[in-house]
Amino acid sequence: MQKVFEKPVSIDEKPFSYCAGCTHGIIHRLVAESIDELGIREKVIGVAPVGCSVFAYEFFNFDMCSAAHGRAPAVATGIKRARPENIVFTYQGDGDLAAIGTAEIVHAAARAEKITTIFVNNAIYGMTGGQMAPTTLVGQKTDTTPYGRKVENQGYPIKVAEMLSTLEGANYIERVTVISPAHVNKAKAAIKKAFQYQIEGKGFNLIEVLSTCPSCWGMSPIKAIEWLKANMIPHYPLGVYKDGAKTE
């Protein structure tokens, strides 16, 4: 029998521990497929964050370390500066990247670090049980905004792709999502390109992936996808925000 579909080599044997309907699994797969297709698995060094993907180093099948909360871009900088010939990436959530680690990501981008960041934005802290994230939408209910996020109290969500694309050091910034096969294909192309740029010695590269969190949003996986489409995409428009190769 002909095998038509299989696990990427860059995915390890350990079963994912993500909740049902969570899109981390899809995003892991896209990262792994991109790395396999580019033939760089044996050169890759990944940096796992603190958050739901804290155990990413168990799911990926290549060298990885885990970083303190929000510090992945600094850790990746240390690795890349020590081993410029390797391909270094961070995999971070919204709390990790856009709250406690805001300084690290902004300055990694400003320095044009030759790294790739996969930024998973699901508008909530999943690992700790559903608190307000820096990307939680106005009006969105969470554990710590039980009456909904209010502008007068918690201010506005941060648009990471837009913010980082203002920096001269940013090479490639795109926002994608994975809520349909067409979106998944687009996300895959973007992630692969973000690694390709690093292979060419270009950085900083970041792909923001709008992701669902059915468990903490309190929705079925299908309802969560509908909610993302109706609420997140209007606030976080998909598309390319910076492509250094085109504008240079």
């Binding site: 390890d12 698995r41 044996e42 050169k43 890759v44 060094i45 940096v47 796992a48 804290v54 155990f55 180093y57 168990e58 990926f60 099948n61 290549f62 060298d63 990885m64 370390c65 885990s66 970083a67 303190a68 510090r71 600094a74 850790v75 990746a76 900088t77 240390g78 690795i79 890349k80 500066r81 020590a82 081993r83 390797n86 300084a103 690290e104 902004v106 300055h107």
Partner: protein, 349 residues
Amino acid sequence: MGEKVLMKGNEAIGEAAVSAGCRHFFGYPITPQSELPAYLAKKMPLVGGVFLQAESEISAINMVYGAACAGVRVMTSSSSPGVSLKQEGISYLAGAELPVLVCNVQRAGPGLGTIQPSQADYFQAVKGGGHGDYRLITLSPSSVQEIIDLIRLGFDLADKYKTPAMFLADGMLGQLMEPVDLGEYKSEIKEKPWALSGCEGRAKNTVTSIWINPEEMERHNIHLQEKYAEIKKNEQRWENFHFDDEAEFLVVAHGSMARIAKSAVIKAREEGIKASLIRPITLWPFPENAFSSLKSLKKILVVEMNMGQMVEDVRLVVNGRIPVEFFGRAGGMFPTVEQTLGKIRGLIK
């Protein structure tokens, strides 16, 4: 003996690091250690190394974490308030068992404090600083020559035991200029098969400090404690000064303070007081073996540039056998030779 050169303490740290094979430095500006990053910013590009000024102390220590993951010799430096900010990263380095050298050219605290020299970060360095059960190999130099020697030793011990080391100097040593002999030094840089280098031709490597299963987390803690016990057994270092079978009074002081205390001991001996001195060089492991026999001692005086920190370790090791007294000054003030001598005289009563 090689040719002697005149060097400033902070620059000596940089020169010694480069001679020890360190080619990666990440730091953030703070007084009174600024000459060190300035020196390495000039030097590193000339030796094919990396100097990077980070956006914060926190980023700097995490860049150090990344470079250590990648298997290179790496250093950061700061002064007291900055080292407080690095504590999170230091705890992760200890948990992940990464060999690095962290320099603290201490100034007075707490809070923003002042930029004058101090030894007030003793507790932070030797008792933990960050969260969790861990220890840092902590080295205290007393001269610019010893800065050179202990920086090299710090890298070697960190690699040997796969653990972070702290180089604990103070602002006076950082600014001090003395002749040093750089000598011939060959660092034995060990292979690091655990490092992250890309998994070509081998299974993947992982560096982490998380063990979510409590049994595994306890096992890791026990493993760390066994390593610390080994360090305690092998690496205690100190200097004896007139500490013999006839000494009746013992002064314990480290770093800059030991230089002043030595002068006081010399003067006391001129007055016929049988005074002596122990200068701990490793603050952790504390040189307990130095106190194994108290011989003819009647009293001990601990002198520090703080309000009483190392004195607790001296009291622990002396364990009530003889009285242990303390004299210290804080806030960037030094106990003088005369004041220390006065305290030694006071021991006789």
